[in-house]
Symmetry: C2
Subunit: 363 residues, 2 copies
């Protein structure tokens, strides 16, 4: 049987050089991750906001569905210290009007800890021993990387600039995910001002591939087989797609989020830090535009998520897009509502068709 193949496929034990991006906070479910992995790509679970017990439960639910390799993803960003209620006043006031519009009282101050303990998350990940573990928004401790690798876990990290890629290579990761500016969700930048590190996928992948020897995975704006072929042309050894999987029936994204990416006809995304405290790309809406325009105060990541949480959830349930964080990349308009296994099969077929087409460009 004819198929796609890169050396990284062997290294990760997957058939196809396609990774379903981890999407913490809803979209990733055991059903999605298992379906992607069983289809020959690498399913990834976004566990940034998940407590250890749930990480274990969800990972077992994936394993109950497939024996194929899958990946766990964590945010390696430093956790902020406790923020007193007084210091939260401005950020709470900035969103209270929106709560009022939905008939809700202003949010309670966020209570520390604002995120699950990273050591505890990694401790359970060691027990789970996934085929692959990736991190985003920072770097893991070198000993932690080596520990996972000694357990047979392949480790990947995200980079948004050459300097971050070089740091990951020095850390000895198995692969580097080059996250172009097109990508939906949180910018992984940790060495620069994220707004100075908005390099497009096309430029970023090529800059990083030319600078490091570690295998590179391209992420950002990839939605179909032509995009995967383009990523491989740029020298990436795999393509990571997130938004492409949002509308899958197995995805846990709210109906509103799925409908919105499917309805998009243009790049209508923006970067905002007002939902979580760190810049992330999503479908533009009223909350993003207004909060950004008046430079509303915000809590540091991820405490800001706590004070926008009920607003987001209530609006999503009501089908009101104004206040929902609908993370999506710039090519969201190419979304398809296909079962994950069928999407993976189409991506493979399209990539092969694209390679056939490229072969005809020689004369």
């Amino acid at each position: 049987m004819s198929g796609l193949h890169t050396p990284l496929c062997d290294h990760l034990g997957i058939r196809l050089p396609i990774i379903q991006a981890p999407m913490a906070g809803g979209p990733t479910t055991p059903e999605l991750v298992a379906a992607v992995s069983a289809a020959g790509a690498l399913g990834s679970y976004g566990f940034a906001y998940t407590q250890p017990e749930a990480i274990q439960r969800e990972s077992e639910a994936v394993r109950a569905r497939t024996g194929a390799p899958f990946s766990l993803n964590f945010f390696a960003s430093p956790r902020p210290g406790s923020i007193g209620p007084g210091a939260q006043r401005g950020a709470i006031d900035a969103v209270s009007g929106y709560y009022g519009e939905l008939g809700l009282p202003p949010p309670e101050p966020a209570r520390a800890p604002y995120a699950p303990d990273l050591d505890a998350q990694f401790a359970i990940a060691e027990e789970i021993r996934p085929a692959v573990l990736t991190f985003h928004l920072g770097v893991m401790h070198p000993e932690r990387v080596r520990r996972f690798q000694s357990l047979g876990v392949k480790v990947g990290g995200g980079a948004t600039c050459v300097a971050e890629a070089e740091k990951l290579e020095a850390l000895g990761v198995d692969f580097i995910i080059a996250q172009g500016a097109e990508a939906g969700g949180h910018r992984g930048t940790y060495l620069r001002d994220p707004y100075d590190s908005m390099t497009g996928t096309f430029a970023l992948v090529r800059l990083i591939v030319r600078r490091v020897r570690t295998p590179v995975v391209a992420a950002g704006g990839i939605m179909d087989g032509a995009g995967i072929a383009a990523a491989l042309a740029l020298g990436a050894q795999a393509a990571q797609l997130g938004t492409a999987f949002i509308a899958c029936p197995e995805s846990g994204a709210p109906r509103l989020h799925k409908d919105s990416v499917l309805a998009a006809r243009e790049d209508e995304t923006l970067i905002t830090e007002k939902f979580s405290g760190k810049p992330a790309r999503g479908l533009a809406n009223r909350f993003m535009r207004e909060m950004q325009a008046r430079a509303a105060p915000q809590l540091p990541f991820p405490a800001q998520s706590a004070i926008t949480g009920k607003l987001r959830a209530t609006a999503a349930k009501a089908g009101n897009p104004d206040f929902v964080a609908m993370w999506a990349g710039q090519a969201a308009a190419l979304s398809r509502a296909l079962p994950a296994a069928e999407l993976v099969a189409r991506l493979e077929a399209e990539t092969l068709e694209c390679l056939d087409r490229l072969a005809t460009l020689r004369r």
Copy 2:
């Protein structure tokens, strides 16, 4: 002989699906355009700021060097009305301190007309009758497009979003240049806020290719054959490269500009509207950072260029990068100081090598 080929090559009468981007204001010279075209790609002259007599002289200088097709490019943006000296005060004050640092008096108010007359530019272009004419930053009048086409001139326009591409298709252009956010120089956006139209090349090319039937040319972040192959994978019928040609000996860019792109190791570009009045991408420097940070007042495009002109020229001569507009794309760090013909030959060879490599990814 084996070579690259797309249907657009036949339509434009060129051997290779590679276009040297028009770069108005210095980089494009008869030597550069002629060398690129003679080598089988499409050389383009950036005539945005050039008066008709000089357009004719420079075009004749290209033709004296080669019989190969070449392209002329114009800015189709509306010209601003006359701005009184009083209304220029704030913009002049905002730059006067920088003039003072170089021992120069504050600039004189800009005097209308701030740009060459577009009708006069198009009238001389009709006489020159180039193989190709492209426009940027707006749309040409439909009758003007048809007039050029009736003379055998192929017409191309720039788009930064799907809506602009659809408008160009309705206009009947021969090809659409999808200008991704990576691209150096002026953003061509004319239907949206340019800051809402910063879609990366990867996403933009694919979005546009999937929406229109007109051939698409990919631009932004393409510096080598792998990039050209990736553009072709995305469905573009040619790749347009600007920054890649800045450091060529035939380029008229100042030494400082050439040295700076060659020295880049990372994406250190930013978008600024403070040099010309419209957003453009260049190597980050003090002028861009400071003027942007204090939201300094500016004149509308291109009048702002007049009041920054002497500052830019004096600093460039002195080798001082602080005040020079060094337009460059996000992958400038991949620049090479090669003669244009040799660069075109390498781009072709690299693209073919990349297609060979892609063919080995099937197993």
